[in-house]
Amino acid sequence: MLPTAPQHNGLSVARLIGYSLLAGLALCAVKGPDLIGIDPARQSLMHTLQGPSAEHWLGTDHLGRDMLARLLSGAQLSLALAALSVLTAALPGTLLGILASWYGGWTERLLTLFADAVLALPGLLLVLMLAAISPGSWWALYAGLSLTLWVEYFRYTRQRSRVILSEPSVEASRLLGFGATHIIKRHLLPEIGPGLLTIAAFGAATAVTAVAALGFVSVGIRPPTAEWGVMMTQLLPYWREAPFLILQPVLCLVVTVLALHLSVGVRRPT
């Protein structure tokens, strides 16, 4: 009777903004470093913690390195890290979720039990250990992150597909002789896609903040590599002296998360 809560399909203004922001970020990450052509590792110990100037548009960090250059090259790693960890979490998570709801019975019980066990495993443990197994290499970080993130996709996919697969439309498709691929393509994905995207948007943010958290407990990426999360931790000691510095990577992340939310819609599936 009443209009239901707005579902986010169709191209709204918000989405346009979101997409353009994302495109912008991607562009910065890919082309940015070459465009400004400053070496993000170049130091000048006599000009540290400087405010914005003609020479350094966003100022310099605690080793006199150009902030803009570092943010841009950081964008590459951070965005790649976020995208990869989300992707590697989403694929198995979704597939297993579908698998569980498809076969039900023991398959479902075992998978669910497994997922619960993983959830109960402190994700931090996995990430820290993987990071410790190959110190300073960032693939370990993202592998660890995906390992802890996939469960969310699994749970969501399983719960939703359970309902969808029991609908008459699926029964009809089966009677018509369609196989699994068709049912996944036409029935499941269109329904659960938006929800998954929203989780992904949250996951991306989690990935970057997690890197920051790890950097905070001094696990993570080797110097002089620039990464937003690592920059946050490295600039924290100077937060009173030069607050504008730590603010920059945080703002970058805010923009990224905002862009993701605008472009996938903000409804969080529970």
């Binding site: 590792a41 130091q43 300073g136 080797r222 924290l236 000691p237």
Partner: protein, 508 residues
């Protein structure tokens, strides 16, 4: 979160410059980065010693002059192979039990069995003889009393040790007794009324281990902590501008240095080591990172160790061109990416350091950039500091960056001997031996007569400066913030103890 924001508004709005006045004038709050893991003296002795819970046989003044502790006097046998420490009478532990020579000897035996300072001395036996503790040596070691000032040699009551030899409590003889202990974060102590020496004015002291420098700075600023140790440069700079606290920085015998594997084909030649040293912008590092330009290390031993610090030495300095020249002499040629190479070997090294002292990774990053200038590629691995001794042992280490404390005891000879003696040391020279230095060190160890020592010390420091088995970078400043109104606190350059029984609040 709106509420919180609102609060913040209010907060910044009613920002009044009120100085916090400690409610209870006999209470002192201390904060430092060092966590207290357990009751085991070899692990946590430093804390129990600094807070005046436990004491050692020998004590030392702030200037590093030895003075009686639990032992009133000590003497070396003529052959120098045996030391006799006569114990103070009428000393009782916090549980009321009396201190005896047996107890002291047992404690020292335990200390010797565990890793710790005593390991640096050639000890053959530790026994009790009536009211004395007798320590026998394999060869003369003049600095033994100095070693006995170290916090790993504290004397704990037998009641603190369970049947299988583990410490289950901290019962000492000091002016303060343990009140509550929550490892690893905090330790509260209260005044011990039956202390043998002059009693403390403070009734209660609580110690909070706050790992983050940002937190400690805020603790000092807010007045939650009255004594805050080892502030980060940025925090220190800020606190100096705040009138509720007074900041102090004293040079201490701790030096940030690079350990080089002199056995490595790139580094075996002293010229290579000198080249690397010449490439380092020490002033830049001391200005931008540690922020005490005066603490730029011109040589290994800082002025704080006046007997080892030499005025004559030619100070280490930066000279890129000279560095390049030296490397050229050694047959290194710059490749097209600017990195030197010699018969198809890139001049690429792996530096190991650790995050426990936050400035180290920063200095490492600085070195990375500075050595790039002379065509040396430096990869950095920030990991556990145990990787350094491990790398020393299995020979895989290239370069290590760490802070070495030559002030563990008033007389650094123990440490120096370990670092530069035969075979080098985990935290000293690696695959570097120099018979001259070795002999000199033995001679120094054998006597405590400064006049006899000077010549040998001169040889040692000269050789170290020339050969650079360790490349010094900056010296340390021990930074402390002290709340206004706190009287009698003296910064101990050896970071040995807080001397709490001399501290009191000025009545106002």
């Amino acid at each position: 979160m709106l509420k919180a924001l609102a609060l913040t508004m209010v907060a910044t709005g009613m920002l009044t410059s009120q100085i916090s006045i400690a409610a209870d004038k006999t209470q002192l709050n201390i904060s430092s980065p060092w966590e207290i893991a357990s009751y085991e003296p070899s692990v946590s002795g430093f804390a129990f010693y600094r807070l005046g819970v436990m004491e050692t046989l020998v004590d030392a003044t702030v200037e590093g002059v030895l003075e009686p502790g639990l032992a009133t006097a000590w003497e070396m046998s003529d052959d120098g192979l045996s030391w006799r420490f006569s114990l103070r009478n009428g000393v009782s532990f916090h549980d009321g039990s009396p201190l005896t020579a047996q107890i002291a000897a047992a404690a020292l035996q335990r200390a010797f069995a565990n890793p710790g300072m005593l390991k640096k001395a050639p000890i053959s036996a530790i026994e009790a003889d009536q009211d004395d503790v007798v320590i026998s040596l394999d060869r003369p070691f003049a600095a033994l009393p100095a070693l006995l000032t170290h916090n790993t040699t504290v004397i704990a009551a037998p009641a603190a040790i369970n049947e299988d030899g583990a410490h289950i409590a901290a019962i000492g003889t000091g002016p303060f007794a343990v009140d509550t202990f929550t490892p690893p974060q905090s330790l509260d102590v209260k005044r011990f009324e039956d202390y043998w020496g002059d009693k403390a004015q403070l009734e209660k002291v609580s110690y909070l281990a706050a790992g983050r420098a940002e937190t400690r700075a805020l603790l000092a600023e807010s007045g939650d902590a009255d004594l805050v140790f080892s502030l980060d440069p940025s925090g220190y700079a800020r606190l100096t501008g705040i009138d509720s606290v007074e900041t102090r920085a004293v040079p201490i015998p701790r030096v940030v240095a690079l350990k080089l594997n002199a056995g490595h084909s790139f580094l075996e030649d002293p010229r290579a080591r000198n080249a690397l040293s010449l490439a380092i912008d020490r002033i830049g590092i001391a200005t931008a990172i540690t922020r005490f330009p005066e603490a730029t290390a011109s040589q290994l031993f800082p002025p704080a160790l006046d007997q080892w610090h030499s005025k004559e030495l030619q100070p280490l300095k930066q000279d890129i061109e000279a560095a390049k020249a030296l490397l050229a002499e050694l047959g290194w040629v710059a490749g097209d990416d600017g990195i030197l190479s010699r018969n198809d070997e890139r001049f690429s090294l792996l530096l190991r350091t650790f995050p426990d002292r936050p400035e180290l990774p920063l200095i490492a990053a600085a070195l990375q950039a500075q050595w790039r200038e002379i065509g040396v590629e430096l990869n950095i691995s920030v990991s556990s500091y145990s990787e350094i001794p491990a790398g020393h042992k299995d020979g895989s280490l290239h370069v290590a960056l760490y802070a070495r404390n030559y002030g563990l005891t008033p007389d650094p000879i123990g440490t120096v001997l370990q670092d530069f003696g035969p075979g080098g040391g985990d935290w000293g020279a690696m695959n570097w031996e120099n018979t001259e230095v070795a002999q000199a060190l033995q001679a120094i160890a054998a006597t405590d007569d400064q006049a006899k020592r000077d010549a040998d010390i001169a040889t040692v420091v000269k050789t170290l400066q020339a050969e650079l088995p360790l490349i010094p970078i900056v010296w340390y400043q021990h930074t402390v913030s002290v709340a206004k109104g706190l009287q009698g606190y003296v910064v101990d350059p050896l970071e040995r103890k807080y001397r709490l029984n001399n501290i009191s609040w000025s009545a106002e």
